[in-house]
Amino acid sequence: MQRLSDLFYDSAAANPDKPAIWCDGKVNTYRELAELVSRYANLLLHNGVKYKDHLGIPMNNSIESVALIFAAANIGAAIVPINPTLPVAAAKTTFQAGDVKHLIARKSFYEECEKFGGINIEGICVCLDGTYPGTIPFSAVQAESAERPEISGINGDETLILTMTSGSTGTPKPIDLTQNNKYLRAIAHIRMYNITTNDRVLAATPLYHSLAERLVIMPLIIGATSILLPRFTPEIWLNCVREQQVTFTIAVSAQLAQVAELLAGRPEVESLRCIVSSSALLEPLVREKLINKLHCDFHEMYGTSETSTITSINFKEALNKQTSVGGCIPGAQVQILLAGGEIAGINEIGEIACQSPLICNGYYGLEDVFNQALAADGYFKTGDLGYLDQDGYLYFSGRKKELIITGGINVYPSDVEKCVLEMPAVSECAAFAYPDQRLGEVVALAVRLKPGLSLRERMVQVHCARNLADFQQPHKIFFVDELPRNAMGKIMKTKLAEYVRS
């Protein structure tokens, strides 16, 4: 097994003057990026960060964030990246679940922590922009040596990234991705999509998610160029693809739907050779628009954060499988499980379960919870529903688990419901997916009030703004007399969008 940091430094040594990364108008050559990685690694070591320590990072898309990933890999530390818009209370819970010892954040994060009672960090705090009392200023990085610190004993089994997911209980589940996981995932995708040193690979999703992490690691360990979009809007994406001559990207379908809309009446894009859509199924009409304007191979893939990619399909080569999410990638296997655990027949819908060398190392500190997600033969149960056809192609039918995917980001309804139930006037509530043309789905909320009490929509918005992250905010709020339930008394989430409309 090769180490990620060795592969990166080898690429840097072979291509010192080649652009390694572009982000927000700034370019770093491989030499400059390797120096930055080394300076970060030295800064961490000199301030007491040890092998296997965990670093909490409210992470934005920037060259500094990418350098931190490789710096952590180089010293055998792990990063716990979080959405920087997460409210302080949620950030604290997440860092606790991820066993965070040190904190690296922007000044605004420290200010926010101060405002909400402070944050207890056992180790060091680094301020990424400017200075803040009690933190090591970013400028200290410049004083560090640009020589790579050599750490012996790193074998690839070390956790590199704990990426957070939630669940039905609302408790964070840290997905444990080791250096080997990240290496195998990057190499699998490099081979699958034939990425070469000539490619310019775009990462346009947030870096605190595993997709963008993979998209920056892939080019940087083979000497290609990483293009990192700082913020997404369809206009910024399109301009970036044109100006930076992007050749390959994996995008979430909600982004692509917005890009397709913008492309109408605009000149075609020439640089792309391959684009992959992930996260949720793309409408066939949207896909057709994109193929016509982008002139490149178009793939769709299916996977989860725990498993990475499981199936992939190239629509040019699989003309009779246009509604499928593809066949298994090399090394992966899919089973469809029925409610009793038996394997479903051809074309029979059940839960998608899979086996793959790319599966994560588990949920950090929650071995039992991860084991519960495994079927008897060790297959990981995804919580998604689908079926296999006679040729082994997978078709996605829906979700078994309660999940809202808005703009490619997962929102767990229980997180929103727990927050809204704190309001004294609320008797019960349900967060559910509401169809949206731009974002695929948005968070909607049905609220039933206690008898005789009233509550304004604005008060619910204020409470959510205070206690939930950006992506969790309810976009639509409906006050209802009752919530639709099935015979067992369970709220029928899938019927809610229809129910509130009527």
Binding site: N60, R231, G407, Q461, V462, A469, D470, F471
Partner: protein, 94 residues
């Protein structure tokens, strides 16, 4: 900081401006060569459509006023300088 306008109290106007500029730059600092007051912070992704509701609600809460639905759908509210001016005039009307 830009020059103070003549409406409202100086303390309030300064805090509106500070609040807005700080919030927009929570995750990304606007480059110095960009005129921040004419920046469309939504189009440029400093606050995305998912974060817009949270931003507006926090702004309303901080300064004790409410936008109407028509005000929220006006394109000008997405431009930094226009938003600051607008909030300041709302405060002055109280």
């Amino acid at each position: 900081m830009r020059e103070q306008q003549v409406t409202g109290s100086v303390a309030e106007m300064t805090s509106v401006e500070e609040f807005v500029l700080k919030y927009i730059q929570k995750n990304y600092t606007v480059p110095a060569d960009i005129d921040i007051y004419s920046l469309n912070y939504v189009e440029q992704g400093y606050i995305d459509s998912l974060g817009f509701i949270k931003f507006i609600v926090e702004l309303e809460e901080e300064f004790g006023f409410e936008f109407t639905d028509d005000e929220l759908s006006a394109p000008a509210i997405q431009v930094v300088g226009e938003l600051i001016g607008f909030v300041e005039s709302k405060i002055a009307q109280r």
